[in-house]
């Protein structure tokens, strides 16, 4: 009992630690100024943490890709002055120095203004999306009533920047990439939004903290009431995740920068720091979408089991975020790229109908929340059927004419 109390107190102290620290720093300021400084501190901390995450995410991605491909990945860059290698942990900074010192080449025929604006805009939009995500119980930078809408509004603008980059470069590969980026955005915005609607529906709010709160608690004492552990939530999460892969231009949907087809797509004519900005924006976007996925379906900052609640919420959020990012990398290491027409067909003929049906499933789930006893099994069975049957049927439609083959032999 005492131990539990100790855990609880340390837990709550740790929980509010970031806020306490901030108040320690800014508490002496007069009120309007304090608000401003508080916001600035919040933004600064977020950017620092996400920036560091970005730096080490690039390293982690390369190292994990390397390990999957039976090689070590970057491990040689030493820490300057002390010349200690330490698994190449200085690599991201070396990359940064390289990117900054490289010559910035702008093609002669390029639309110079747009060519410059594109990476800046992309980064700005990506950072904007990061603002609304609740990183912990007390760690929300921007509290909007319509935060979900804000997130997707800002996210939708990123593809505009990709288009700008592709168009401004005056390179045919870039132009093709720009067209691809537009088509991809139009196709995947819809399933992305539709997959989010059930989560909003069940929470009855567009505010992200409310959605996280709605996923608190445990059914049967151990199963977290995260959306992902319900049939509709699982389906929604998968649809969201696939669409997020497409939205953040990650493999297997990295068509705008398909390196085997379009050299580097919209990045072909970018070099030096601008290229690094694109890279950064891609990872920020990936983090933002992962954070959104965690918030909407994986219970946000909620602990997975009751007795683990003493660990602060932001740690849980970080753990979940990192595991989702790991899946991003894992998928990149495994899958080849889709073709443009397959990509759009997959969105329109598979994801969108599934997401629509999933809306119905979620409605059923919320209407039958009161069912208990044996009716619980009926509830699960119906919901599972509502998810699996359309999945199987649509999947069969989608993969019609594509199947493993048998081969004959001439002897």
């Amino acid at each position: 009992m005492n131990a539990a109390l100790l855990f609880a107190t340390t837990g709550s102290v740790l929980e509010t630690l970031p806020v306490t620290l901030r108040d320690l720093v800014t508490g002496w300021l007069p009120e309007p100024l304090r608000w401003l400084v508080n916001s600035l501190v919040g933004v600064g901390t977020l950017l620092a943490v996400i920036g560091l995450l970005f730096a080490y995410l690039t390293l982690a991605e390369r190292k994990i890709l390397g390990r999957i491909q039976n090689r070590p990945g970057p491990n040689r860059t030493p820490i300057p002055f002390i010349n200690l290698r330490f698994f190449g942990l200085a690599q991201p900074f070396a990359d940064g120095v390289k990117a900054i010192t490289k010559e910035d080449v702008v093609p002669d025929g390029a639309d110079k203004v747009l060519h410059f604006l594109a990476p800046v805009a992309l980064l700005a939009f990506s950072i904007m999306t990061l603002g609304v995500i609740p990183y912990g119980r007390h760690l929300v930078l921007l509290e909007f009533d319509a935060a979900v809408l804000y997130f997707f509004a800002a996210g939708a603008a990123t593809e505009l920047a990709v288009f700008m980059a592709g168009w401004a470069s005056r390179n045919k590969y870039s132009l093709l990439a720009a067209m691809r980026a537009l088509a991809q955005l139009i196709s995947y915005e819809l399933p992305l939004l539709l997959s989010v609607v059930p989560a909003v529906m069940l929470a009855g709010s567009l505010a992200l903290p409310a959605i996280v709160e709605a996923q608190g608690g445990w059914s049967y004492g151990f199963l977290p009431q995260w959306h992902v552990f319900t049939p509709w939530g699982f389906a929604g999460f998968i649809i969201f995740f696939i669409s997020a892969l497409a939205e953040s231009n990650r493999s297997p949907f990295d068509l705008p920068e398909a390196e085997s087809e379009l050299i580097a797509g919209h990045l072909t004519e970018y070099s030096g720091f601008k290229y690094a900005l694109f890279f950064m924006a891609e990872y920020f976007g990936m983090c933002a979408l992962s954070g959104m996925g965690v918030t909407l379906f994986l219970g946000g900052w909620q602990a997975p089991l009751p007795f683990l609640e003493f660990i602060p919420s932001y740690v849980w959020f970080g753990v979940k975020l990192l595991s989702l990012l790991l899946v991003f990398i894992w998928i990149r290491a495994t899958f080849p790229r889709l073709r443009m027409d397959q990509l759009t067909r997959f969105a329109w003929k598979f994801l969108v109908p599934l997401a629509l049906i999933n809306l119905g499933t979620a409605a059923f789930w919320s209407l039958t929340a009161g069912w208990s006893g044996p009716l619980q099994f009926v509830r699960w069975a119906v919901a599972l059927a509502l998810v699996l049957v359309p999945f199987t049927l649509l999947g069969r439609r989608l993969s019609a004419g594509v199947a493993p083959r048998t081969y004959r032999y001439a002897t």
Binding site: E261, P336, G401, T411
Partner: protein, 386 residues
């Protein structure tokens, strides 16, 4: 086609300028493009992303191979054949050796024939493994299948290195046998490798063959009809993928191949997936051949004792030697006037001839398809451009 586009230097600027003038976009893919497998160039005319015209341009790696063959001795050409299709030096060596042996009437000891079969099949494994890796890289895998393929290829290359002294430029076959006799340790190492290769293929196939994305990307893409393939002189796995049973190992029965039990896998659709699968199945048959050849490897000399190395002058005449290389029929045509150099030296490069049907396969497909169709042809520019 604007003739100016073909001129090097400034051609790209001009192409960019012109391309924006029509609905059609003309893209010059290569010679410096990540997936043209070397310095190969495709001038692709696109309607949206569909290809309405494709003009292959090659010759960037031309090294005067055939003329060079006429200026050096018969033996001197042997290391140059390594550099034709640098993934399958051993089979190139063998085809050239067969041509010269025919010309000179040079017999080959049985042990050498067995060693040649072993090396040719190892080369086939190596080449097809690499090709599958490259193809998947073209499909957009981030290097993973390629790295697995290279991991296994390294093991075969290690065998080649410990036998011939070089990983890729083996220069191993000689007229009337092989240069070095494989030691029992080498044979054991080969046996181990062959024994493990099936397991690797299983894992490789688990990663790729059933993958829905790969099936969607490759099935029905780049279809080549059997009639066109025959008319164009296409050979090797590409021809067999169209369903034509043609394998020189069966029809020519050169070397000691008739002694081995193996089957020839045939495709039915002639698309990229069939080309990939035919190669994978061929690898499994190669493993069977290797097991039989390693089990039956006889003793005896590796070189015909009467074979001459210095002062080799075959009598006047002509000969065409060909074998079933990993990429198709690799053949060498030689005319001798009795001198130390061939009077005429001509290569039948399989990947060059297979490449001629590229446009037919690509029309109506998208840019992304063109890349994998090119990948499925299995070209090596060293051989295409010679």
């Amino acid at each position: 086609m604007n003739p100016e586009l073909l001129t090097p230097g400034g051609a790209n600027v001009r192409a960019v300028h012109d391309a924006f003038h029509g609905d059609l976009l003309e893209v010059s893919m290569g010679p410096h493009h990540p997936s043209t497998h070397g310095v190969f160039r495709m001038i692709v005319t696109l309607d949206g992303e569909r290809i309405v015209k494709l003009k292959p341009v090659f010759g960037y790696l031309h090294r005067n191979h055939e003329k060079l063959g006429e200026t050096v001795s018969y033996l001197g050409s042997m290391p140059y054949t390594d550099r034709l299709d640098y993934l399958s030096a051993m089979t190139n060596n063998w085809a050239y050796a067969i041509a010269v042996e025919k010309l000179a009437g040079q017999p080959v000891p049985e042990r050498a024939e067995y060693v040649r079969v072993i090396l040719a099949e190892l080369t086939r494994l190596l080449n097809h493994t690499c090709l599958a890796g490259f193809l998947m890289q073209d499909c957009g895998c981030s290097g993973t299948p390629l790295m697995y393929a290279f991991r296994e290829r390294e093991k075969i290359l290690d065998l080649f290195e410990s036998l011939s002294g070089s990983r890729m430029m083996c220069n191993y076959q000689r007229f009337g046998g092989c240069r070095v006799d494989p030691t029992p340790a080498w044979v054991d190492a080969t046996r181990t490798l062959v024994g493990n290769y099936g397991a690797f293929l299983d894992e490789f196939e688990a990663l790729l063959t059933g993958n829905e994305i790969i099936m969607a990307r490759t099935q029905g893409v780049g279809v080549l009809s059997a009639a066109l393939a025959i008319n164009a002189g296409v050979t090797g796995p590409m021809l067999r993928a169209t369903g034509v049973a043609s394998d020189l190992r069966k029809s020519d029965a050169y070397g000691v191949y008739p002694r081995f039990q193996f089957r020839v896998p045939l495709g039915a659709h002639g698309d990229v997936y069939d080309r990939y699968m035919v190669r994978v199945l061929e690898m499994r048959e190669s493993i069977r051949i290797l097991e039989q050849a390693l089990a039956g490897l006889p003793g005896g000399p590796i070189m015909d004792p009467k074979a001459k190395l210095r002062g080799f002058r075959p009598k006047a005449g002509e000969a065409y030697g060909r074998i079933e290389g990993p990429k198709g029929e690799i053949g060498f045509y030689l005319v001798s006037d009795g001198g130390p150099n061939p009077l005429r030296y001509r290569v039948r490069p399989p990947s060059f001839i297979n490449l001629t049907v590229l446009e037919d396969m690509c029309l109506g497909q998208t840019v992304a398809d063109a890349v994998i169709i090119l990948g499925s042809v299995d070209i090596v520019l060293g051989e295409v451009d010679r």
